[in-house]
């Protein structure tokens, strides 16, 4: 595989829920080691795009290539193996309530059987110290705060050292200190471990802090693709509006 091959390539993706079209001709490429942010207003199809990239949904038409391979062509086993190479951190953690935080992080390691079982506790401790949760190892998820759950979810996503990590709304619902700490952590993980991040968010501060490139969706279409600086000087009104936090007129009217 050539080194310049993007780690994820999405080509002309169309998708529907029932009759309703959610994504309309979306294409993008994500390079190795990049922090790629998908953004847009609520209900624009961000999370749907993420689900397609992680193989949780299959598209109406178009293709998703991971490491140059179309995931629609993969058999169930191959798809499962492909998923071992990606980590997903869910919006509210997605932790298993019946297991401790440490067991949650250990789960993919035990199931994939990629490493020595005697090394697993050490890996778990390491991933938890990366996200600052060493002391929470033996706690159950319901004893954690929202921010801690999110970080524990990230630790689990990182457990098997996947080259790509998908992160749904990393800073939603967190206090500014915790949110910027998490941004810092994302940058550090990319720098030290070379992890590629695909992040769905609409927190402006977070986007400015971490994003190499952004993809902006509006009503299922690609509105803009490029760096944050390019977006802010793009002259596309809808993009400008997003970055200036300008409300739509009809909501403004309703509020009056």
């Amino acid at each position: 595989m050539p080194a310049h091959e993007p780690i994820i390539r999405v080509e002309n993706l169309d998708t529907h829920y029932g009759d309703k079209q959610i994504l309309d001709d979306v294409s993008c490429e994500i390079a190795r080691g990049e922090i790629f942010v998908v953004l847009g207003g609520s209900g624009c199809g961000k999370t749907t795009l993420l689900k397609h990239m992680t193989g949780l949904l299959s598209p109406t038409s178009g293709g998703i290539y991971i490491n140059g391979q179309n995931i629609a062509d993969l058999s169930e086993d191959e798809l499962a193996r492909m998923k071992q190479g990606i980590g997903i951190a869910f919006q509210s953690g997605g932790l298993f309530n019946s297991m401790t935080v440490g067991e949650n992080v250990a789960l993919p390691l035990r199931e994939y059987r990629l490493v020595d079982s005697q090394l697993i506790p050490a890996i778990v401790r390491m991933k938890l110290s990366l996200v600052g949760l060493v002391d929470a190892e033996n706690l159950l998820p319901d004893a954690l705060s929202g921010g801690m759950r999110k970080r524990a979810g990230l630790a689990r996503a990182l457990a098997a050292d996947p080259p790509v990590v998908f992160f749904d709304e990393p800073s939603a619902g967190l206090d500014p200190i915790m949110a910027s700490g998490l941004d810092e952590l994302i940058l550090e993980l990319r720098r030290l471990l070379g992890v590629t991040f695909v992040i769905v968010t609409h927190e402006l501060d977070s986007i400015r802090a971490v994003a190499d490139r952004i993809l902006m969706l509006d009503k299922g279409r690609v509105l803009f693709q490029g760096s944050v600086a390019e977006a802010e000087s793009s002259g596309i009104d809808r993009v400008q509006q997003f970055f200036e936090r300008r409300p739509d007129t009809h909501i403004a009217q309703r509020n009056l």
């Binding site: 390491m126 033996n138 159950l140 990182l158």
Partner: protein, 361 residues
């Protein structure tokens, strides 16, 4: 005290990490020694390398020796700063198992506390179901109608079938015994008395506790988990009034009705065996049945079913509202509720039997 120096290779990864971990140098560490991890040669470290260092630090600490490191630079230094908490502290020890006396005490306290909670819920539920509506404090009649449909109308078929089959079985068993004396006709009486007093009430209550009791717990527990109960309380609505009272009144109405259906079904089951297998004429069997049927016995069965209804709704709600720990907790509480239901049904039944034995006879 000796100083053990462990030199790390230029690249620390899964293989090289394992090599230095399996090296003899760690075996040589004794209590009170100091271990120095020398990272000055290392220019690259991956997550597995880091994990081996943590493993090593744990092994050294288990021997009551101390560990420190030096010479790290660049990427290695940054990664070491990130994983430092994992290298330094021990994982907090899991909670100590309580001793025997402590356990007995704990269980006693739990039982007393739970008993109190149940009693409070009982008082609350009775007030909101039987008294508050007459004080004009509101009752959700529409919800009550829905519950009657759910708990009652939809349970008729299964209640009928279970009791019918039980009637058939009892007739079968008792006929085999009574035939030797030529008294098979008394099976009709036995079925009537048995079903009126005990069997219909118990069988129906067991069916309903598995259907409705489990549903109440699962519903309430999910509402707690999803913060719906908090939302209700936050709106200033009373949970007992809003959720429990309509269910309680519905089951108080429905369970005696189902029990009555159960009695009829049981008797029909017995009649089938009597007519088709034992060869009695239906008229004779019916006469015998009606002669044995007494309001006294039927009243006992119906009265009991009211208490069963109370137990099922209270145990269901109580367990649902006590849920802890998400999806797993919902399952655990539902199991607990059904077990408690069936246990309470048997206990209540025994109390009634004792009471009637000494009073009515």
């Amino acid at each position: 005290m000796t100083l053990h120096r462990i030199e790390c290779p230029p690249e620390l990864n899964l293989e090289t990490g394992r090599d230095i971990f399996n090296d003899d140098s760690i075996d040589a560490v004794r209590s009170g020694d100091e271990c120095l991890i020398d990272l000055s040669q290392t220019s690259k470290m991956d997550p597995h390398g880091g994990a081996w260092l943590i493993r090593m630090a744990q092994a050294v600490r288990n021997k009551k020796a101390s560990v420190r490191w030096e010479g790290e630079s660049g990427q290695v230094a940054e990664l070491m700063t990130l994983i430092e908490p994992g290298l330094l502290d021990e994982p907090p020890p899991p909670a100590r198992e309580p001793g025997y006396v402590e356990q007995v005490g704990g269980i006693t306290i739990d039982v007393i506390r739970e008993g109190r909670e149940m009693f409070a819920l009982l008082v609350d539920a009775i007030y909101w179901t039987l008294l508050a509506p007459f004080e004009g404090r509101g009752f959700r009649w529409s919800h009550f109608i829905d519950e009657v449909h759910d708990m009652g109308a939809k349970a008729v078929r299964i209640t009928f079938l279970m009791n019918f089959l039980l009637g058939l079985t009892i007739a079968m068993l008792s006929a085999a015994q009574l035939r030797t004396f030529g008294l098979s006709i008394f099976v009709a009486q036995l079925i009537v008395i048995g079903f009126a007093r005990e069997l219909a009430a118990i069988m129906t209550a067991v069916v309903v506790s598995a259907r409705t009791g489990a549903a109440i717990t699962a519903e309430m527990a999910t509402m707690v988990v999803q913060e719906e109960i908090d939302a209700l309380r936050g709106m200033g609505l009373n949970v007992t009034q809003f959720l429990i009272a309509p269910k309680l009144l519905a089951l108080l109405v429905v369970l005696p009705c189902l029990t009555a259906i159960g009695m009829v079904a049981g008797i029909l089951g017995g009649l089938c065996w009597g007519v088709f297998v034992l060869g009695f004429r239906p008229q004779i069997w019916l006469n015998e049945t009606l002669a044995a049927a007494q309001w006294n016995d039927i009243g006992q069965g119906l009265l009991k079913s009211l208490f069963f209804a109370l137990a099922i709704v209270l145990i269901g709600s109580h367990n649902g509202l006590r849920v802890k720990g998400g999806s797993r907790g919902v399952g655990r509480m539902t199991t607990r509720a059904v077990v408690m239901d069936i246990f309470m049904i048997i206990v209540v039944d025994m109390l009634f039997a004792t009471f009637f034995y000494f009073t009515v006879g």
